[in-house]
Symmetry: C2
Subunit: 343 residues, 2 copies
């Protein structure tokens, strides 16, 4: 391979001059600069990233720890990944991706062997086994997802509590007094998927405060089970006029179910989901929804992480926990509840 020494020889200058000409870290005569540039072009020189990393202690690589858990909707994860990856690239960083099950191990490997300057953790659980590893690591970390303990890390998440309140409130104002909330599977909650209960508890509380009945249930993340779950919960609560979905699979399965039953939204049932624009458009979901903003969250996490990496944040600057406010995208699937059948 062509090295900085080759460039120096061809340009007739020293290796340090080549280095400085390229980095611009000290003044260089026009003549030297031109000869270096020519030599670089002629030889097709690109610095060896490993050697540079060794010399500077900077890898210009960010570790991305994705977690694909059973009972969660994989395509949703992709949107977060893309937000992280694209933003990192814009800021000059590459992405080292881990999708392995044992995220703590992957993180330890990346961190201990100094492969990355910082890491982004996706799909963070309430008690996340990657967090102790991250806190002990010399590299900074940014999370997408709110853990129970946020010390030592920057945290970004959708404000799921506000989302829960917003959804109940929206339907309440339209006149609904009996609602159903279908969340992710209970299994997700048990292993620490805090966003599930954050939304659910807030929704419950808002409902109570307004005198609204809210039937909160868990649904499967799989087809066709979730279709049956939805059917069962609708049957169980015939008086419910509004349906809130914090479960992508449920949203994807709902159109078929409504068709089967000859129901349409919002005529017979008002429907409100929580998913991304991208998801809606890919799966033809014309339900109004709280935007989960995966790309934006990924972007925020990377931006903050890079600020930490590059020392733009003073060491004693506090860590942040930043919530994205839920936005309700109106696609026309909510309206006044149907008039009660006479009698």
């Amino acid at each position: 391979m062509v090295t900085i020494g080759d460039v120096a020889r061809v340009a007739g200058v020293s290796r340090s001059t080549v280095s400085y000409a390229l980095s611009g870290k000290r003044a260089i005569s026009d003549q030297a600069r031109r000869r270096v540039e020519d030599a670089v072009r002629e030889l097709g020189y690109t610095p060896n990233a490993g050697a540079r990393a060794l010399a500077t202690s900077q890898t210009m690589v960010i570790g991305l720890l994705a977690r694909f858990l059973e009972d969660e909707f994989a395509p949703a994860m992709l949107q977060y990944m893309l937000g992280v990856s694209n933003t990192a690239r814009e800021l000059g960083y590459d992405i080292l991706l881990s999708t392995e099950e044992d995220g703590a191990r992957a993180l330890r490997r990346m961190s201990d062997s100094r492969m990355v300057d910082g890491v982004v953790l996706l799909n963070v659980a309430h008690e996340d086994d990657r967090l102790p590893v991250l806190r002990a690591a010399p590299q900074p970390g940014a999370l997408v997802g709110l853990p129970g303990d946020c010390t030592g890390v920057d945290v970004f998440d959708l404000d799921f509590e506000e989302a829960g309140r917003l959804m109940v409130d929206h339907l309440f104002r339209l006149g609904h007094r009996e609602l159903i909330l279908v969340s992710q599977p209970e299994h997700v909650v048990e292993r620490g998927g805090a966003y599930v209960w954050r939304l659910q508890n807030a929704a419950q509380e808002a409902a109570r405060a307004r005198g609204v009945t809210l039937h909160a249930t868990f649904g499967s993340s799989r087809q066709p089970e979730i279709g049956r779950d939805l059917a069962a919960v609708l049957d169980a609560h015939p008086g419910a006029t509004g349906l809130i979905l914090n479960n992508e699979a449920a949203a994807a399965a709902l159109p078929s179910l409504l068709h089967e039953r000859g129901l349409s939204a919002p005529r017979d049932l008002s429907v409100l989901g929580r998913y991304s624009e991208e998801f809606a458009s890919t799966f033809s979901l014309h339900y109004s929804a709280v935007e989960s903003a995966p790309d934006r969250l990924g972007r925020m996490a990377v931006r903050q992480l890079v600020r930490r990496i590059e020392g733009e944040i003073a060491p004693d600057d506090p860590y942040v926990v930043r919530f994205v406010s839920p936005e309700l995208v109106d696609r026309g699937s909510t309206g006044a509840p149907p008039a009660r059948a006479p009698g």
Copy 2:
């Protein structure tokens, strides 16, 4: 950070002894080995990956060049990525992920700066601008997707031609004589999505050979457009009794459409898709389909790539082009065509 020198000092041996004790590349006395192991544990030593890469010219990293193109179904790409990533890890490699638009540039950067030992290209086009870069690179590359020119690379893909024949044949044997094929958008074909025309041409030919009428059309990759496309093509060919879908969005949109029209498969229409098991289960698609095997293709590509990287393949061993035979997963959505309406 703790270096090999720290370990050597604590263990009371030389740095080379530590290195050899860890790599096992030369015999070590039991005593020395034990002291090294103790010191490693005590200090929590992990070799610096960059330094090791510089010394060995091996990064133990594989570049993964994903391409998310407009009009293609993003979640499908994720399955390939997971196949690649998980297999790489099993074989001891990490993944450097690129999702940027300019794949050729990303590849050049990874390759020139020696960040990777080899690369996997996903979603390869007939004329793929990443290929010239790859051929000029010192690292080997494996492709998922068949390009027009396969020289210098290992290629893995589903046998889309066989898939096209298989699907037509399957429906022909059930008695169908008029079929519809809905492919990806024409736009995908125009920019080199060879799998679209490979399947379509083979299907056309098989249909001709059997005296079957095949209406080949392109459909949108987006909702709700694809729903309208499907409706239009069904209206245009009322005599068609079989529907072949080489378009994930179409498959996802079909259930609603059939419900709307009061049709069911296979009673009124036999349906045959081309997508993965994972896709089918995530989106509740109970249509029989040719399995696109993304995880398997990703796995095959990485395995071959690692063989090349590690020199298990002799330099003069020819490059391979390996097709996965399509398997038809029967989910019961095909059957005999409906009896003709009398008259």
